[in-house]
């Protein structure tokens, strides 16, 4: 059940109505409803993996209790590592086993040894990286005494499986979400309207921006050798907006949906393409994952309070892990390494926390230097995305070679140029709206200041644009992770 499907358009009002009109007297009953709805939502993908989700939830729930109850440090450790081991084990089996087996065989072959590893023919359970990270953060927080263990299974299960965030995040923290689940929630008109607005904006990003960009990016990435350098740059640009529209669109729909139920989820994107350096970009892109790695890996490794060479090591570890989290492919690792390399000058010159606030907070346009920094950061990001999108390393090199060839000065040889121009126009319009709304958590949030008539006109225009200019439907990219 995709967020942009008619099935979800039926599912959401039904759950909403039951939540606020039938079970509104009792927040525990509301939680049970949310849990059952979330399991139904997940079962629509593949009901068999529902058992894996329930097992993973039960394991972390029980581990949390055993860790808290244990009087001896040894027992705490045993339960902690058991939970971590099984969680990572699931990820290892479903996501990384084939990668390691194939690469080990290739390595052995270098030494003249033949190995024929048994490869698993299993489908990756949707959302496994997301719900595993929910569970991991909870168990680590209980072990580190940052939070109290959760004794109510239903409440804990809603924290892990709440349907808006179940399959593609944001990756929540128990400290943020569990208290909201445990308390009584009241309907708030402004909050719910803001949720609907965010859903609408998310749908526009996904259906109009991402899906149209995907059609163009697919043409250029699937037939790389047939296109000249300028066309390949456009292809990279299309993918840059595809992945942003796709993932941030999904996050907007998730956050907006959660708001309809009176729940606030972690913000996942904060206008990353207006970043002035790569450090700022990573504070604004997939924030819930970046902060997860920061809190659970980077800081425990010493963070920035260790010697410089250790900081460099830690930075590389974080970026490589982040790349590897996306999938068992060398292209994702290369993407992580490249971002770490981008980060190095900032780290070495202690400039990585220079840009904390949004660009040009008090003026309409950025200054010349700021505009230049934004453009440079954007281009570097775009180049890194080539690795992310490429089928393998060979393809990535071929694509980059094409991008930096002399044919960059030719007219782009894109088959469907009128469509490319239309998509570019949408990208321009979208960037403009995002720029104007950059002071808010999402671009349309500022609409509250406008008159009702104008708000109404904007809603209808957006709905019309989505209806007419929808690209051919594409799976959300982050579902595969």
């Amino acid at each position: 059940m995709l967020f942009n499907s008619f099935s979800f358009a039926l599912f959401l009002p039904v759950v909403f109505a039951l939540y606020w009109f039938v079970f509104n007297k009792n927040h525990k009953a509301q939680n049970i409803l949310l849990l059952l709805s979330s399991y139904f939502f997940y079962a629509c993908w593949d009901w068999r993996f529902l058992f894996l989700l329930i097992f993973s939830t039960a394991l972390d729930y029980y581990s949390g209790i055993r860790i808290a109850r244990a009087t001896k440090q040894k027992n705490r450790k045993i339960w902690f590592w058991l939970s971590i081991g099984i969680n990572i084990g699931f990820l290892g089996v479903f996501k990384y086993y084939n990668f390691f087996a194939e690469n080990m065989a290739a390595l052995l072959a270098q030494f003249g040894m033949k190995a024929h590893p048994t490869l698993l023919q299993v489908i990756l359970p949707v959302g496994i990286s997301f719900y595993t990270f929910h569970g991991l953060s909870y168990v680590i927080d209980v072990y580190k005494n940052r939070i109290k263990e959760e004794r109510n299974f239903a409440d804990y299960a809603v924290f892990v499986s709440f349907f808006p965030l179940l399959v593609a995040g944001p990756i929540e923290r128990a400290t943020h979400l569990l208290p909201q689940i445990k308390k009584t929630r009241y309907f708030d008109y402004a909050y719910a309207v803001s949720g609907l607005r965010q859903i609408l904006w998310g749908l526009f990003k996904k259906i109009v921006i991402a899906d149209n960009c995907a059609e163009m990016a697919n043409e250029l990435f699937n037939y790389t050798s047939g296109h000249n350098g300028s066309a390949l740059w456009l292809g990279a640009l299309f993918f840059t907006f595809q992945i942003y529209g796709d993932f941030s669109g999904y996050s907007d729909i998730a956050l907006g949906t959660a708001r309809l139920f009176g729940i606030d989820l972690l913000r996942n994107f904060a206008y990353p393409y207006f970043s002035r350096d790569i450090a700022e970009f990573w504070r604004r892109w997939h924030i819930s994952l970046s902060s997860w790695f920061r809190d659970y890996v980077y800081i425990p490794l010493g963070g920035s309070k260790v010697a410089l060479w250790k900081q460099i090591r830690n930075t590389f570890i974080i970026f490589i892990l982040s790349g590897f989290w996306h999938g068992a492919q060398w292209t994702f690792i290369a993407w992580g390494v490249l971002n770490a390399l981008y980060f190095m000058p900032l780290l070495l010159f202690r400039n990585n926390r220079k840009h904390i606030d949004i660009v040009a907070p008090n003026s309409l346009f950025p200054g010349f230097r700021e505009a230049l920094s934004i453009a440079l950061t954007f281009i570097l990001t775009m180049i890194a995305w080539v690795f992310f999108r490429a089928q393998d390393m060979q393809h990535a090199w071929l694509y980059l070679k094409g991008m930096f060839s002399k044919t960059i000065f030719q007219v782009p040889n894109i088959q469907n140029m009128p469509k490319a121009l239309m998509v570019l126009a949408f990208i321009g319009l979208f960037t403009g709206i995002e720029w104007l709304g950059r002071r808010h958590t999402f671009a349309l949030e500022g609409l509250t200041k406008q008159t009702k008539g104008l708000q109404y006109l904007i809603y209808l225009t957006l709905i019309l644009v989505i209806f007419v200019f929808a690209g051919s439907p594409q799976q959300f990219i982050y579902f595969q992770f």
Binding site: S5, F6, S7, W20, F187, Y189, A192, V193, L196, I207, Y456, Y459, L460, I463, F467, V468, F469, A470, G471, S472, P473
Partner: protein, 326 residues
């Protein structure tokens, strides 16, 4: 909460109120298109408007509507002919069109079934899906045969306007016709459209990318052909299976054509119907008869239609013992 529901309803109200009339308006305009979807609307309209009163019907894929000129067959055989060739689809959806055709029109005496490499291939998705949009909500057969294929969701068949979602080409065409009327000449005449183009270079480009094409024989399509031929026998409709010419150079890429032809011959023997195989005919060796490897241009189609008509006439179409080879 009341305020929230009221305001949400106000935003959605125009969509809810307008969905049905807008759907009707768009569908009515789109049906008038003479060129979109390779002229398929013209054929569907003739089917649903009960306009096909022909003794001879031609079935098949794009090779049918590009190769078999009903006018030539009509002039030569002295019976009304209509070409129901369906762009881009094998027998699975040709059978659906056959059912719709018989539901609304008098049955023909004869059916020429154009066969090709793709006859038994199940569609992977919906190619040229726009052709179904104006009719799919009211057609039970379309619902039955299109639903297993990816392209439309189950809601598209029931919820007004939903199937127009993101269909820019169809929306643009409907609006254009709505405001200016249809100004293009009809692409097809009684289902047929010749293509005057000479051989294009797509073949060379495709040859670089595709090393081999393996003919697919999907059992649901084979079963449907059995059902179709049995039904025709019961209804006393004479079927003539024809494998129309394909450019000879395509042979180097093909794997499994012999097995396919053998299967066609088996069908012909089982149901005692003629199978005319023109896939090795002399017309296949002249590039000037084609605009690509599997489609004849106007010149080729004229020559082929004349040749076929002459053969059918000489051997008396009504005979059930026509020779297998022309």
């Amino acid at each position: 909460m009341k305020r929230f529901l009221k305001h949400t309803l106000w935003v959605l109200l125009p969509l809810i109120v307008l969905a049905y009339p807008l759907d009707r308006w768009l569908s009515a305009r789109l049906k008038q298109s003479h060129t979109l979807a390779n002229g398929e609307y013209l054929v569907w309209n003739d089917i649903y408007d009960r306009q096909i009163n022909s003794e001879l019907a031609i079935y098949g894929s794009s090779r049918a509507w590009r190769h078999f000129d009903p006018q030539i067959l009509e002039d030569s055989l002295g019976m009304k002919a209509y070409n129901l060739g369906m762009d881009g689809y094998g027998f699975y959806l040709q059978y659906m069109r056959h059912l719709e055709y018989l539901k609304y029109n008098p049955k023909p005496k004869y059916i020429i079934l154009s066969l090709d490499l793709f006859t038994f291939e199940m569609p992977k998705g919906l190619y040229n899906s726009g052709q179904f949009i104006p009719y799919m909500r009211s057609s039970a057969y379309m619902k039955q045969y299109l639903q297993p294929l990816q392209g439309f969701s189950v809601y598209d068949y029931y919820v007004p306007l939903l199937r127009y979602f993101g269909k820019k080409t169809e929306l643009k065409e409907a609006l254009k016709i709505g405001f200016k009327g249809e100004q293009q000449p009809a692409l097809r005449t009684r289902g047929f459209a010749g293509n005057p183009e000479s051989f294009n270079e797509d073949f060379q480009n495709a040859a670089k990318m595709i090393e081999k094409y393996t003919v697919l024989i999907d059992s649901p399509c084979v079963q449907l052909l059995h059902r179709f031929l049995s039904d025709c026998k019961k209804e006393d409709i004479q079927v003539i299976m024809v494998y129309s010419p394909q450019y000879t150079a395509i042979k180097q890429f093909l794997v499994g054509k012999e097995a396919l032809v053998a299967l066609y011959q088996k069908f012909a023997a089982t149901y005692q119907i003629p199978f005319l195989d023109y896939s090795e005919d002399v017309l296949c060796f002249d590039q000037s008869n084609f605009y690509n490897t599997s489609h004849m241009n106007t010149k080729g189609a004229t020559l082929f239609s004349q040749k076929l008509a002459h053969f059918l006439k000489r051997n008396t179409l009504l005979s059930k013992n026509l020779p297998v080879k022309p």
